[in-house]
């Protein structure tokens, strides 16, 4: 009976302005017996890594951070009394972020202070919310900040948005 060996190599790299790109290659091969697995795995790993490394050097399209996604036609932001636009996303502010300035500053500060990988954070946002960091609304940004604080070993606390520094409250 033939043994099927499937090998996959994937690499994701961070790019400026919370961008990232990734590439992966998968290969399937048949082996005649189990003694061939170790050698085949080593060989395939080398081939796949070379292939991915060669291709991923081509960054391709890179958006202009000052203009890209600024006019997405999402409507108007909530007026604060509950009458929102119904789509869950605010149009990004002039600097391209949809969350508050305080949240934006805290995210960037955490990235800077703890040398976090922007690409990894972008991936986190994509995995959790299906959108990029800059597109996160206030609620999503708050949850991301909580996760980042946990990641850097700062315990999250109930009751007070983290991007503020006023008297605490019991919520």
């Amino acid at each position: 009976m033939a043994i099927v060996l499937e090998a996959n190599y994937a690499k994701k790299l961070g790019l400026p302005n919370f961008s990232s790109h990734q590439y992966s290659v998968t290969i399937r091969t048949e082996l005649t017996d189990l003694t061939q697995v170790e050698e085949a795995s080593t060989r395939l790993y080398g081939i796949l890594q070379d292939a991915v490394d060669r291709e991923i050097q081509h960054v391709g399209f890179m958006p202009d951070a000052s203009t890209y996604g600024m006019n997405n036609g999402n409507g108007h932001p909530s007026n604060g009394n509950g009458n929102g636009n119904g789509n869950g996303h605010r149009p990004p502010a002039a600097d391209g972020w949809a969350c508050t300035e305080g949240q934006q500053k805290l995210i960037l500060q955490l990235v800077h202070d703890h040398r976090l990988d922007k690409g990894e954070i972008e991936t986190m946002a994509q995995q959790l919310f299906g959108i990029g960091v800059k597109e996160l609304n206030k609620m999503q940004a708050s949850n991301l900040i909580d996760d980042l604080l946990e990641k850097v070993g700062k315990k999250s606390s109930r009751g007070r948005p983290r991007w503020q520094n006023r008297e605490g409250a019991r919520a």
Binding site: N81, L128, N137, N143, R158, P161, R162, E167, A171
Partner: protein, 273 residues
């Protein structure tokens, strides 16, 4: 201005009363607002005089249960579900990690710890939330700047948001009556709706209260509420107005009633002058 008749009471020194009140007027959470509306003197003891009391057993059970539900929801969100053993480890960790001391009677801690875990097991057994469904948000702190309405900034934490529904977890010793609980929790549920709408630009599809009831055989009671109405929002804003004005007047009168029997400030209140 009010004062404690017993000067030995453990009052935090620090900030002046005027500064504390100004800070309290700047932001408000649903629990703080509810406390103010329930008994202004109790509010004064807790938030102005800052008298600290040992954490109650019930509160400790509640926060430990909350911690496990948070871990469970976060794991669902990240699509890395936790086993029951892992959840129990989270519970044990949360139980041990209390920031405030609890004064236990002999044998009480073990009993309460078991009670809490039985509540968690009940939730996983009876909850209608499919383990594979992904939440929108988990225990997320949010705020709404209401200064344009002449009101403080509203702050709060949403336990869980799932498919546009705001879900709040509660532990209780009695079975809630759906009609009454809709009324008694309205400050909280309306606040959450305002916070959700402000933070997302969307209207919630509904609000759910998940009560874990500490009975001999624990049970889960789900109360589904419709989205906040305009009338409810107006009522919340009126209550916030009363909060701001009451603080302005330093109107910290007591509200004697049945609820005093379980109030942690009962003794201080008897000395009120």
């Amino acid at each position: 201005m009010i004062a404690l008749a017993d000067p030995a009471a453990p009052v935090s020194p620090a900030a002046s009363e005027a500064k504390i009140i100004a800070d309290l007027q700047a932001t408000v959470s649903p629990s703080r607002l509810t406390l103010f509306l329930g008994c202004r003197l109790k509010f004064w003891f807790r938030y102005v005089a800052r008298i600290t009391k040992p954490k109650t057993a019930a509160l400790h059970v509640g926060s430990s249960v909350h911690a496990v539900l948070k871990a469970w929801n976060k794991a669902r969100w990240r699509q890395t579900p936790l086993t029951l053993t892992q959840l129990h480890e989270e519970y044990v960790k949360a139980w041990a990690e209390t920031e405030e001391p609890v004064q236990w009677a002999a044998g009480e801690e073990d009993q309460e710890k078991k009670t809490g875990w039985r509540l968690v097991e009940t939730y996983f057994r009876e909850s209608k939330i499919p383990p594979e469904s992904r939440p929108e948000a988990v225990e997320v702190p949010v705020e709404a700047d209401l200064h344009q309405h002449g009101l403080p900034t509203l702050i709060g934490v949403l336990d869980l948001v799932q498919a546009g529904r705001i879900i709040d977890f509660k532990t209780s010793s009695t079975t809630p009556n759906p009609e009454k609980v809709a009324h008694t929790t309205e400050v909280q549920t309306s606040s959450y709706a305002v916070l959700y709408r402000e933070a997302t630009g969307r209207r919630e599809t509904g609000i759910e209260l998940h009560h874990l009831v500490k009975l001999k055989n624990p049970k889960l009671v789900l109360t589904a509420l419709p989205p906040m109405s305009d009338l409810q929002q107006t009522r919340l804003f009126r209550l916030m107005e009363a909060y701001v004005e009451g603080l302005e007047r330093q109107d910290f009168v007591p509200s004697p009633g049945m609820q005093c029997a379980s109030c942690e400030f009962f003794n201080e209140c008897r000395l009120f002058c």
